[in-house]
């Protein structure tokens, strides 16, 4: 009989997408509970050291005690914070790491951000039985590039909660009526953070270029909070308010009729977001975010059956399929950085108009997507991964050590780096070329 001990954060992540991913993932694990598989959750604060010092509890000794009492067959780390390295290093003072059962780590986009911690874990756990579960095919290639062997890496795309996101035609009609969208008008939607690397400004400019003389009445809805994280690893630091000012100035520069067709919705609760996704006709994201391992927001759009156009970048590339409508914008790394083939937007729009999409298509695409990525179906995928044999970890290679060193220096130095600024001619390309799938869909 299996006894899974799932170590999870007791607090919500500060990343919006992880606030959704984490509970969905835990729910998928929860569904594995059966007479043959017992599940136990251990909650740990992301500030466990501080909390241990200031409060009565002691997370690490409690965890050591739980290990002795429960005697799990596998330990699973589902959250990105607190980092498993922090937990394991303190746990080693109370419980020998070599006595731990096989370990499962879910990797998030911040694998690169925490490269140093992963490099250290690699040393500690060499020879231990582990599974590194990545969130997309691209992340698989990226992590493989950092590893001595790929045998410990498994791919599992995070699930979508089918109770939150689905296609509802009545809701579509009602929402369009509420926001006075006429039947013949087409709504393009972007949802997610509005931050530098998400390229919402490029989306708006290209939309304006395509539709300035178009006969199709079209609207662009941008849903999400402004975020001024910039591109830290490149040494590009944004100040609070920069992205809003950038988008606002861009809108001011557009012809009035185009600017008035663009609506900024701000952050919306998930019920409203579902309604907007149901009411919209297309979803587009031109993100080139450097840690785009997955893509919660496109996944939610596809769950609502939306025809979707995404960059061929990171986790986005994994969403293409003939079973639903998801196309990719080709991305290339040149010596000056990323190059996006934005003319694909025009092609996508033309294809959309030729397809005469109706409610049956939307319903079918939504169902097909959820069949693959709902919490229930994901639970079965998790089971299949856990049922595979655990193999001894071969460790990470020099790439990760070098990368972590360069990355860490950059994060603290706030400088441009000849190594990590996007270019086809440097170390960046060696690492991030794996984020481009080259799929031509």
């Amino acid at each position: 009989m299996k006894r899974l001990l799932i170590i999870r954060s007791s607090r919500q992540s500060f990343w919006g997408s992880c606030r959704v991913i984490s509970p969905n993932l835990q729910n998928s694990y929860q569904l594995l509970a059966s007479p043959e598989c017992e599940i136990k959750f251990f909650d740990i604060s992301d500030l466990f050291l501080k909390d241990d010092a200031l409060k009565d509890g002691n997370y690490i000794t409690d965890l050591a005690q739980t290990l002795r009492d429960y005697n799990p067959t596998e330990i699973i780390f589902t959250d990105h914070r607190p980092h498993p390295y922090e937990i394991l290093i303190f746990l080693s003072m109370h419980y020998p790491l070599k006595d731990l059962p096989p370990l499962v780590f879910h990797l998030y986009g911040d694998f690169t951000f925490f490269a140093q911690s992963w490099a250290l874990i690699g040393e500690k756990l060499k020879g231990h039985k582990i599974k590194l579960i990545v969130a997309s095919e691209s992340q698989y290639k990226l992590v493989k590039n950092f590893s001595n062997s790929e045998v410990n890496i498994e791919t599992f795309i995070f699930p979508v909660d089918e109770k939150d996101y689905y296609y509802d035609h009545d809701e579509r009609l009602e929402t369009r009526r509420q926001f006075q969208i006429r039947d013949y008008e087409q709504v393009i939607l972007y949802s997610g953070r509005i931050s530098l690397q998400k390229n919402v400004d490029i989306l708006i400019s290209e939309y304006a270029e395509i539709f300035k003389n178009s006969v199709f009445p079209t609207k662009l809805w941008i849903v999400g909070a402004f975020d001024d994280h910039g591109a830290n690893f490149q040494g590009v630091v944004n100040y609070e308010g920069f992205m809003y000012a950038k988008i606002h100035q861009l809108l001011e520069s557009l012809p009035k009729e185009i600017a008035s067709s663009i609506r900024l919705w701000g952050l919306q609760p998930k019920e409203t977001l579902r309604k907007l996704k149901n009411a919209a006709d297309m979803f587009m994201s031109l993100s080139l975010y450097h840690d785009e391992d997955f893509g919660m927001s496109p996944a939610e759009a596809l769950s609502c059956g939306l025809p979707t156009l995404l960059t061929d970048w990171g986790g986005y590339s994994s969403f293409t399929s003939k079973r639903w409508f998801c196309n990719l914008i080709p991305v290339e790394l040149t010596k000056y950085g990323h190059q996006l083939k934005v003319s694909k937007m025009q092609e996508f729009f033309e294809m959309f108009n030729l397809a005469f999409i109706n409610q049956h298509d939307r319903t079918k695409w939504s169902q097909e997507f959820l069949k693959e990525f709902s919490i229930r179906s994901s639970s079965q995928k998790l089971k299949a991964i856990l049922d595979k044999d655990y193999l001894e970890f071969q460790g990470f290679n020099w790439n990760l050590a070098y990368y972590s060193n360069v990355y860490w220096t950059l994060l603290h130095g706030r400088q441009l780096s000849i190594h990590l600024n996007p270019s086809s001619d440097n170390f960046y390309a060696q690492i991030y070329q794996h984020y481009i799938s080259g799929k031509n869909i």
Binding site: F14, G16, L196, Q197, N199, I202, E206, A208, E209, I210, K212, A225, F226, D227, D228, A231, Q234, G235, V236, N238, Y239, E240, G241, F242, Y244, A245, H248, Q249, S253, L254, P255, L264, G266, L267, L288, T334, Y336, G337, H338, Q339, L340, K341, V342, S343, M345, Q346, L416, N421, P422
Partner: protein, 335 residues
């Protein structure tokens, strides 16, 4: 917008870095770093098309001279010194500076044609009829910047707007960073507990004190009332206010007299708040008032008293900021 064909490709990052990042170097002196650390996060930078910046905060004069206008976020004291000390070269030609509307009286006659005024407005405001779900109180809990008596007055004012029942329903968050900098005596003297006690006594016992990282990573503050306690002595337009308002928080609804001001521009700073820029009609207002005279004196006096008390005073503070204050006080024979 240029009339051109849709792009075939676009380049990301290279142009951005070339045009923005490479021109963005600022160097702070040790004293300025201490001052900034003390005011963190209230004096942190934010971006808007009005070119907001803090005086004495590493603002690169060379950078400022490149701009046609810039907005001074500082409060009463730094601004007073600015008008006393700054060279008029800064406002040569058409260049304008924008200061907070409350400080119109600090502008010397020869600067008036080059000074505009700003006020920060949230789209959502709260009052007796429109009660927020959450109240966020922020500020530096420090006797100089937030006199405990004034603090209690402010809390009583909130209590007079919202009933006990309303306050009971509201979630109250308080953020009062307490830092060791020795700017005004020892850090132990800046006693957070007396401010906390005033909060409990005047609002309610159930108040959360979240950490800055937690607040900063929260993206939604809709239906929240933001109140800052510092009355703009050192910082008038704070980063903390900018952050909360840009995530949906609102301010208290106030009755204001703007008959001497004409609105010339409204600059949105986020989806939820804006900066309003005004011109002032000086013909309707009193003449320039020396900020170091009269009713502004108590603020300056407080700083001098703290600075000259037997407590340990940092060398940097003594040399840098305190010297300005002392110079004027000495000139007037007050110390």
């Amino acid at each position: 917008m240029k009339n051109k064909e849709p792009n075939e490709v676009v380049q990301w990052s290279y142009d951005f870095i070339k045009s923005f990042y490479l021109n963005n170097n600022e160097i702070l002196t040790a004293e300025e770093k201490i001052y900034h650390h003390y005011l963190y996060p209230f004096a942190e930078k934010y971006y808007s098309s009005l070119n907001p910046f803090m005086l004495f905060g590493g603002a690169d004069v060379g950078q400022l001279l490149k701009k046609d206008f810039w907005m001074i976020r500082d409060g009463l004291i730094p601004l007073s010194f600015f008008f006393k000390e700054a060279s008029e070269d800064l406002i040569k030609g058409k260049r304008k500076i924008i200061i907070h509307k409350d400080f119109w009286s600090l502008v010397p006659d020869n600067w008036r044609k080059n000074v505009l005024f700003y006020d920060i407005k949230s789209h959502q405001t709260f009052d007796k009829k429109n009660i927020p779900e959450q109240l966020i109180l922020c500020g530096l809990a420090n006797e100089t910047l937030a006199d405990p008596v004034e603090f209690v007055e402010d809390l009583k004012a909130i209590g007079s707007i919202f009933s006990e029942k309303d306050l009971e329903k509201m979630k109250i968050l308080a953020y009062f960073p307490n830092k060791r900098t020795d700017l005004w005596g020892r850090w132990q003297d800046e006693n957070i507990f007396k401010y906390a006690r005033a909060l409990f006594e005047n609002l309610k016992m159930d108040i959360e004190f979240p950490e800055w990282d937690v607040l900063k990573s929260t993206m939604d503050f809709k239906n929240s009332l933001y109140v800052e306690i510092n009355r703009g002595v050192l910082v008038k337009d704070s980063f903390v206010q900018q952050m909360f308002l840009s995530r949906g928080a609102g301010l208290l609804k106030t009755e204001e007299n703007i008959e001497n001001f004409t609105l010339v521009k409204k600059v949105p700073l986020s989806l939820y708040h804006s900066a309003e820029v005004f011109e002032c009609d000086y013909s309707k207002l009193k003449a320039y008032k020396n900020p170091l005279d009269g009713d502004l004196m108590p603020y300056f006096k407080k700083i001098i008293e703290k600075g000259t008390s037997p407590r340990v005073l940092s060398e940097g503070w003594e040399k840098w900021y305190g010297s300005y204050v002392k110079k004027y006080y000495k000139a007037q024979g007050l110390i």
